[in-house]
């Protein structure tokens, strides 16, 4: 019995050791992945890839015959190049509307506005591309289009090449808005739907944004204090209180919603806030050090490494959150 227990214990410890070893091996790969995926998420809106699925859903449902597809009779006629600007103007309305709605959602789902336009444009284009692809696939299935080899397609006249692409694009535009209540629900307001950020996360991000706004608006960051005293202490206390609240939210977000390199992002933000708090405490102790952290005309070479690092992080935080106080 005892031997069995000992064997079990040694087995456990073997597995634990193996797991630890595996974690140690995986950690650098995970760190590298986080390092790579975080900017991709910020540039291309990877967090919102679910929107592409929901956005392409109307085209897919249309292809399956769930509802009547847009009328294609006029698309079949030969439309001259002169009509192209009018077609573009009309077709762009749903695209612009989708872009604006996607942008609004993404503004809520990401803490900062860096690369927001790029993200929204990427997601909108991805929705159009996938919808067009679904329309093209449907066209192939029902015989509207015919699959040919690349060399044949290349050799065919311009009209024959452009026509299917144009048709698919126009159909995808038509499917974009209004044809799916689900997609409209997704892009109009935050909801706990699968593949999309949850309400809890969005609520925490909103609260954190509020804290960052309070931090960005702190007078300590803009006005040089005359000397130490109750006024300065009060400003520092206000700022540190906002920082503490932000840190609590960051810890929660970093622990619960940490995919796509977000943990790393929150860690960096946390480091910036820690340095801001240290600078505020330093200034509370010696008000003349304010210029070392916030004055624009300070000689950076005269600062020690800690002050330089704090100043750089404070500047980075200010740059990121500047839009909150506009």
């Amino acid at each position: 019995m005892i031997e069995e227990a000992a064997a079990h214990a040694s087995k456990e410890s073997f597995f634990q050791t193996a797991a630890k070893q595996a974690r140690r091996l995986v950690r650098p790969i995970k760190d590298r992945y986080d390092q790579m995926i975080l900017p991709l998420d910020h540039f291309f809106g990877l967090r919102a890839y679910g929107l592409v699925v929901y956005g392409a859903l109307p085209a897919s449902l249309g292809a399956l015959g769930a509802f009547k597809p847009p009328d294609q009779a006029t698309l079949g006629s030969r439309i001259g190049l002169a009509a192209l600007p009018y077609i573009c103007a009309v077709a762009l309305i749903p695209v612009v509307l989708t872009f604006v709605l996607v942008r609004q959602r993404l503004a809520n789902w990401y803490l900062l506005r860096d690369h927001l336009f790029m993200r929204a444009a990427t997601i909108t284009l991805a929705i159009i591309a996938v919808s067009s692809f679904v329309c093209a696939a449907n066209g192939l299935l029902v015989g509207t289009f015919r699959l040919v080899g690349i060399s044949v397609w290349w050799a065919s006249p311009f009209h024959d090449k452009a026509w299917p692409i144009g048709i698919c694009l126009l159909l995808s535009f038509a499917y974009l808005v209004g044809s799916s209540t689900l997609f409209l629900t997704v892009v109009k307001e935050d909801s706990d739907l699968p593949l999309l950020p949850g309400k809890d996360e969005i609520a925490s991000i909103k609260s954190l944004r509020g804290c960052l706004k309070g931090i960005a608006m702190s007078p300590l960051q803009t006005e040089q204090p005359e000397t130490e005293g109750p006024d300065l202490t009060e400003r520092v206390t206000q700022l540190t209180t906002a920082i503490e609240a932000a840190m609590t939210l960051i810890t929660n977000l970093g622990n619960s919603f940490n995919r796509l390199g977000r943990k790393r992002f929150y860690e960096e933000l946390s480091e910036e806030l820690v340095d801001l708090r240290a600078a505020a405490t330093d200034v509370n102790n010696v008000s003349i050090n304010w210029s070392s952290y916030w004055a624009p005309d300070v000689d950076l070479t005269s600062l020690n490494e800690v002050m330089k690092m704090r100043r750089a992080r404070i500047e980075s935080l200010r740059r990121s959150s500047q839009w909150l106080i506009r």
């Binding site: 102790n285 050090n289 070392s292 000689d299 005269s302 600062l303 020690n304 490494e305 800690v306 002050m307």
Partner: protein, 219 residues
């Protein structure tokens, strides 16, 4: 973790840029030391900021020693020569860490030998002069003489207070000095609480509480 002692520190040391303004005689002596004093290289022993001065061979900047000694230092060295804030620096600083080579600098020596010395003397601020044992004996002797000549007031009071240290030769000594300063600047015993505790012990028949015996649990 122990609560850190907040203190305002000014490191009065040379920087990388100061080589051109040193006395010619000292320049020659420092040049002869080769790599030990290379003003072109950061950390040999100077950097762009006085706080990054690495006086000892182990290559630790002064601010790191402060951290190790449980001091949460607000460093004001960057403002020392600022015409608008210089006076405030002298007023606020509680501890000066001095590099004697500053006394061989054509312009900075005045600030140290006059204002800083007077402030320390009059307001009993803590100070230490760091003169590494790694320097050649002749140069150390020469620098010690410069200190005695130009910092006469500090030399006169050097033994009056344990927050004064005339010559710190090693990293260990600097560390123990800073710990001493931390203890000195740290929280003091609350007289009221002390008398209250003494009264409680006295009521239990303990006239002079001490830890000479093993502590025991009593009912």
């Amino acid at each position: 973790m122990a609560h850190k002692i907040v203190v305002t520190v000014c490191v009065v040391a040379l920087t990388k840029q100061d080589y051109g303004e040193l006395d010619e005689a000292i320049k020659e002596k420092l040049d002869a030391l080769g790599d030990v004093y290379d003003f072109q290289t950061v950390g040999k022993p100077y950097a762009n900021s006085p706080d990054e001065w690495q006086p000892f061979e182990e290559g630790t900047p002064i601010r790191a020693y402060l951290d190790k000694a449980n001091l949460k230092a607000s460093l004001v060295s960057a403002q020392l020569y600022d015409p608008q804030r210089g006076a405030e620096v002298l007023k606020k600083t509680a501890l000066y860490i001095i590099d004697p080579l500053v006394l061989t600098h054509t312009t900075k020596r005045e600030r140290l030998a006059r204002e800083i010395q007077t402030t320390i003397y009059n307001t009993e601020k803590a100070f230490c002069i760091v003169l590494p044992a790694e320097l050649p004996a002749a140069l150390r002797g020469e620098l010690a003489d410069v200190c005695i000549n130009q910092l006469q007031s500090l030399h006169a009071i050097r033994d009056e207070n344990d927050s004064y240290e005339w010559q710190v030769e090693t990293a260990e000594r600097l560390q123990s000095y800073l710990k001493r300063v931390a203890r000195r600047l740290g929280p003091k015993a609350d007289d009221f609480m002390l008398s209250l505790a003494q009264a409680v012990f006295a009521a239990r028949g303990v006239a002079r509480p001490d830890l000479s015996d093993n502590p025991q649990l009593v009912t």
